[in-house]
Symmetry: C2
Subunit: 501 residues, 2 copies
Amino acid sequence: MRNFTIYDIYQRNALHSSSKTALVSGSQRINFAGLLEETEKLAYRLADAGIGKGDRLAVLAHNHPDFFLLFGAAAALGAIAVPINWRLSDPEIEFILKDCRPALLLTDEAQEKRIRETAKQNFPEIRICTMGTSGFGEIKGLRKYSGEKQADFPQISADDPFCLIYTAAVDGRPGGAVLSHGNVVYGNMQTAATMGLRGDETYLNMLPLFHITGLNLAMATLHMGGKNVLMPKFDEKQCLELTQAEKISIWGSFPPMLSRLCEAADAGTYDISSLRHVLGLDGPDQIRIFEEKTGATFWILYGQTETSGLVTFSPALEKAGSAGKPGFLTKVKIVDENENEVQRGEVGEITVQGPLVFQGFYQQEEKNRHTFRKDWHHTGDTGVLDEDGYLWFKGRKPEKELIKPGGENVYPAEVEAVILEHPAVKAVSVIGVPDPKFGEGIKAVCVLKEGESLTLKELGEFVAERIARYKKPQYAEFVAELPVKADGAVDREKVKEMYGK
Amino acid sequence: MRNFTIYDIYQRNALHSSSKTALVSGSQRINFAGLLEETEKLAYRLADAGIGKGDRLAVLAHNHPDFFLLFGAAAALGAIAVPINWRLSDPEIEFILKDCRPALLLTDEAQEKRIRETAKQNFPEIRICTMGTSGFGEIKGLRKYSGEKQADFPQISADDPFCLIYTAAVDGRPGGAVLSHGNVVYGNMQTAATMGLRGDETYLNMLPLFHITGLNLAMATLHMGGKNVLMPKFDEKQCLELTQAEKISIWGSFPPMLSRLCEAADAGTYDISSLRHVLGLDGPDQIRIFEEKTGATFWILYGQTETSGLVTFSPALEKAGSAGKPGFLTKVKIVDENENEVQRGEVGEITVQGPLVFQGFYQQEEKNRHTFRKDWHHTGDTGVLDEDGYLWFKGRKPEKELIKPGGENVYPAEVEAVILEHPAVKAVSVIGVPDPKFGEGIKAVCVLKEGESLTLKELGEFVAERIARYKKPQYAEFVAELPVKADGAVDREKVKEMYGK
């Protein structure tokens, strides 16, 4: 009786905002009554294919309007949506499929060939269906909706899982972060209340929907009865054109999007005065330029998939350089190695409580016990709370070294393992370096075997063939030796000091 | 780990908005750091007096800044706040005290004498403490805070009760509606997201804090890090002066407040341009006048204590005469006598689901089973959902006849029972009638015994001596006989038709 699920959002919008536009994708648009109808049709078709409560429903695709039908249908059935990053390599996708064993995988024309081959070899039991390019819910591989009256949808609780989003945990190994209906619903409420979102909001989906920030902004907009405009892939000109045509009020943006948008806006004549909020990561200088140009507010953030998205977020220039203040449903505590709260202004691990903390990693009880020790979620990130209550992000804990080029998560250890497979490489340390385009770039500091030679281009291609392309180094430096610690291990902090500028 | 309590609101504000003003009362003001400090001091003092988790803490007083300390302290201790309407008669208050058996009762100087006498006779076990008139937390009857380090506060879950607010249930008998921390926290989020409340909001507490609407607006403002300004009792001039001086942005208003405020504003020269939102009940004409005068938005509502406040609320003139659309965390279904959903546009009972549905009436399992039948909360009110998804309030179910003069709940059956005690009265039917001042007024349609006579004034005094003054009839009509139904019972609907204009 006190539950409120993602499917309830679809129902309430159909009931109370039926004729408002819900989704726009190219020349297609659908209102909230239509969205519920198409969503329920898809739910019945999925039920017909044997999908029920607790089953995993993977989706591997560029942003596509059927994502919204799938999210609603999964919610209605109590099935668990697993949106997968299409930029991952085949072995990485195989890892995810093996981990969560979906009953069905939805894909698009761009990914179909690739995933059918992978599945044929390794996952013959997964049913693969392909989303069409015209109309909503044109999915090949599912029987059409019969039109007959169907059984009621099962009772779903706010604590039931809604989706799994794979992200690397503190130990670097990818895990499916289980987000419940309550996690996402209260995430919507926190985002809406903090940013002051309204019913006339229009969000341009230029962030991918398999990323928590993209999902959070899309769902918060949907929850408020606003309009979602789809964009299959980021393109600055198309973004500006859509912003003008659809009177977009919200963007989500990770480097290098904003700088490219600013350049493209300067080069053309676009009316983007409808823009009110941009949420993302950029430096204060870029944000100043952008805000002066548009009058919109740039919201800076700290967040994780494991916290259903946003932990802290504030107008960026309220305290330039900080990551903002915690959202209205989020508690932040900075702790030392012994789990004691540090003094204000001191660095420690960022820990989080509140209804947005995820349910744990899918089927990884031991890891969850560690992550949730002392009844706080341990982010693996370090930060400082200043005297005004703003969070300053300080980095990752050594065991969770992470580089974030353009909002993606890249674990140095994973890239290092691939590079070490190269016959010319003797030793390597991969670090994050400031990058004017992506905010953070990937740099490999390599020691080559005697007599061997290697170029950045060769190294990059070697990595891109094995793991997602966005994980390949954009920078390389070939050195005679790497600094080591007393125990002989590479001293990553020293490497950063020496080669990280 | 996923809990978020009322005490967490106090803590987050002290951590992230420490120097912002939290409370203003006369010439006293306190920031969020100070509010947490005073709240924790009070919690330690209450713990010293033996108050612990689950104990009831009654408060019988006009609006007073210490309400906020009490709410936070009760939340920290897991004690249950019971704010009582001071306008109730002694027998009514005794009923409540007997029902919830508080360990301690906080009162103010105006109510002290009266409650001490009542308690001395009937509740010697209740400790009575009196809030002072200068400073925060100046409470007589509690030992001062020793300053020594205290034990940690107990672990409180979002489902633990935060307060009991007495209201008449569907059967007319008063019951303590149990609101959990989650109910109030998510009520805050719903109010803030729907109305678009911001961190710079300032709410004038002219509604009493023992009423759910007053509590909801005060708590939502507190949660957003806004400022609460106290007013012990409604006074239109003081309200306008405070609005100007403190740049008030939110009012809550029940008839006849708004018309009196409009008149007073016309008669004086007040700058109330800071006002953005007024939430309440008024007719469209009055609202139009008000909005034109101020530029603020009047939010019309339908709500109950049992739903933690607001079920529906929208800008009133979006659809004049309706009660607005459901909040973002609220599901509404209109059902017939057989619990089946009626067609759109048809009248039925308003039922509600969502995280704001209360936990039930305190220790009334049977009534709760009835109220929560079919897993929906049954409001006892009737309404219509129109094709645009707006709720239209239609009245109360016969068993829950209710008159609402100025936002108070008056049950005709209770008033009739008192009137029937009068030696001159043979039969009576009490109904609600339109009232220009209070929105709804109380009218007694009486049949007198042969040879007897009675005036409205005499009748009103007779009632006011026995139950709360606001329950006395403002109108009376003396008739030869009352219309009856086939079973001989008074036909209330006929009475309304004949005498209700």
